[in-house]
């Protein structure tokens, strides 16, 4: 449900959580009274141990779950009140990248990326222009005919990023995008995400990787047992143990 922007969000904000809680069972909240604001064009790391509420937060932002309490606004959509029929249109503003890539294994690189454009009903003529352009940006122009099984982990994640970006989303949600990659590929993917962010896309990345968080010096939100314990500009990854 679209909102009048001024009332809930500042002009430069794309995500607002207002005292959001989420409980799967009555006594154990996965997120508890979380409030945060993320501006357009920010690069934000969300860190925390397993069970800290990172995945729940991502699911809430994708409207895969509804908050138990509080209000959640993304891109002028009040997600608490967004009906199921309007979820697809909302999600087209968000690109998603997963740790396990989630590519369609029976389709080649080109088809995996074109798939995202077909879903939003981009005319075929435009798809033929957009897909090679985005594959060139992620450095896979020469491998458009390859199937996911013929690519390395880093290359598969690039395809997933290309698929997430091809519809020009305002926000890119990356859930442990380097979790399955070696250090070399991790650096390349982080470099790519930084370039995407510099081009204007808001990047929200969930990670366990201390080295990359500390090296990039971006905003770091630390969750622990469903509560934000630290939110720092140019932050670092601090182990809670």
């Amino acid at each position: 449900m679209a909102l009048r922007k001024r009332k809930y969000m500042a002009d430069d904000e794309v995500i607002v959580l207002d005292h959001v809680s989420k409980s799967y069972t009555q006594n154990v909240p996965a997120l508890s009274d979380v409030s945060l604001r993320i501006k357009r064009g920010e690069f934000v790391f969300i860190v925390g141990d397993s069970g800290s509420g990172k995945s729940t937060l991502i699911k809430l932002l994708l409207k895969e779950l509804n908050p138990s309490e509080g209000n959640l606004y993304v891109m002028n959509y009040h997600l608490n009140r967004l009906p199921h029929s309007r979820v697809p249109k909302f999600r087209r503003n968000i690109g998603v990248v997963f740790q396990d890539f989630r590519l369609l294994k029976d389709r080649n690189v080109y088809e995996n990326v074109a798939f995202a454009q077909r879903i939003v009903q981009v005319p075929s003529k435009n798809i033929r222009k957009n897909v090679p352009r985005i594959l060139a940006i992620v450095g896979l122009a020469g491998k458009y005919k390859a199937r996911p099984g013929q690519l390395s982990g880093g290359e598969q994640q690039r395809v997933a990023i290309a698929r997430a970006l091809v519809n020009n989303p305002t926000i890119l949600l990356a859930d442990e995008p380097t979790g399955n990659l070696d250090p070399k590929n991790t650096n390349e993917i982080m470099h790519l995400l930084e370039e995407i962010n510099e081009a204007g896309t808001t990047v929200i990345m969930v990670t366990h990787n201390k080295e990359i968080v500390n090296a990039m010096r971006k905003r770091v939100i630390t969750l622990r047992r469903g509560v934000i314990v630290r939110d720092e500009e140019e932050g670092v990854y601090i182990d809670e143990d």
């Binding site: 697809p88 999600r91 989630r102 029976d106 995202a116 077909r118 879903i119 005319p123």
Partner: protein
């Protein structure tokens, strides 16, 4: 919806059949097996009902008139009977025709010894019914008509044929119902397994922003095509088997085929083709539609 999206959905539905060829083959085989059984049973049933119907059509009620009745009154009685809905055919047999038929059948050349018609006053109506179970009601009616002396009928034949017809109808309804229920169960299980394997694909589509319609489209097209192919295969097999069975019966059991009137495959297919295609397409369509729905709440 864009035309290109429509073609994309159709094309993806067709491609899905080949992408998941083992699932497609399993589904087609399940549907084919169920509809094959249904087709065989229907063919036997249709022939059985046809034999009963032919036997029913041969059973008639004979109406004799009072002595000295006028031709005009006989015609009036004929008109009254003809108007009854259960009557399919009515023949008038005059005294002379009755004698001619009797003498030909039973007397042969000895009939020449008769100078007068011994069956004088035996003119009658032969009445054939379209529903043998209505015989009693018709007889009661005719007996009350003025000018009617006697009504002859075969109560046992009518009752037996009516009873058999009813029993066959009930048994076939039961068996067709069971076959359909088994088909729906087997096919929906196959579709469920096939779609569960691809729930990741559905979740990816949903995360990217696909509408329920877009996600469901290719699966439904796929289900529809699998259902139609699954229905067409047994129709082809039954046609060959049915014709072979008719040839076999007419060659090996000549007496049987002269007594019983078997239906041609064309007559059987007038009902079986639309029935099988509708069941195949319906199960494929609704099976996919309902099963995909479970995975759309992402």
């Amino acid at each position: 919806m864009r035309i290109s999206t429509l073609f994309y959905t159709l094309w993806q539905g067709i491609k899905n059949i080949f992408r998941n060829k083992w699932f497609s083959l399993a589904s087609i085989a399940t549907i084919s097996a169920c509809l094959f059984l249904l087709g065989i049973f229907y063919s036997i049933l249709a022939n059985f009902q046809n034999i009963i119907k032919t036997a029913e059509e041969g059973v008639c009620v004979v109406v004799f008139f009072d002595e000295g009745i006028t031709d005009k009154r006989i015609e009036e009685i004929g008109d009254m009977i003809r108007k009854r809905p259960e009557v399919s055919k009515i023949n008038f047999v005059s005294d002379d025709e009755a004698w001619e038929e009797f003498s030909k059948e039973h007397l042969g050349e000895y009939a020449d010894g008769f100078t007068e018609n011994p069956l004088e006053g035996s003119s009658n109506y032969e009445i054939y019914l379209n529903d043998i179970t209505m015989q009693s009601a018709l007889v009661t009616y005719i007996e009350s008509v003025d000018g009617v002396r006697e009504v002859r009928r075969s109560e046992i034949t009518a009752r037996t044929l009516g009873g058999v017809n009813k029993l066959v109808g009930l048994v076939s309804l039961g068996i067709i119902g069971i076959l359909l229920a088994v088909s729906v169960f087997l096919i929906s299980n196959t579709v469920t397994i096939g779609i569960s394997v691809r729930k990741e694909e559905i979740s990816i589509m949903k995360y990217i922003g696909a509408t329920d319609f877009f996600v469901r489209g290719p699966f439904v097209i796929e289900g529809l095509l699998i259902g139609l192919i699954g229905a067409a295969i047994p129709l082809g097999i039954i046609q060959i088997l049915y014709n072979k069975a008719l040839d076999f019966l007419s060659l090996r059991f000549e007496v049987l085929s002269s007594l019983l009137n078997f239906l041609s495959v064309d007559v059987i297919y007038e009902t079986l083709v639309p029935l099988s295609l509708a069941i195949g397409a319906g199960i494929g369509f609704f099976g996919s539609y309902i099963t995909v729905r479970k995975h759309l709440r992402v």
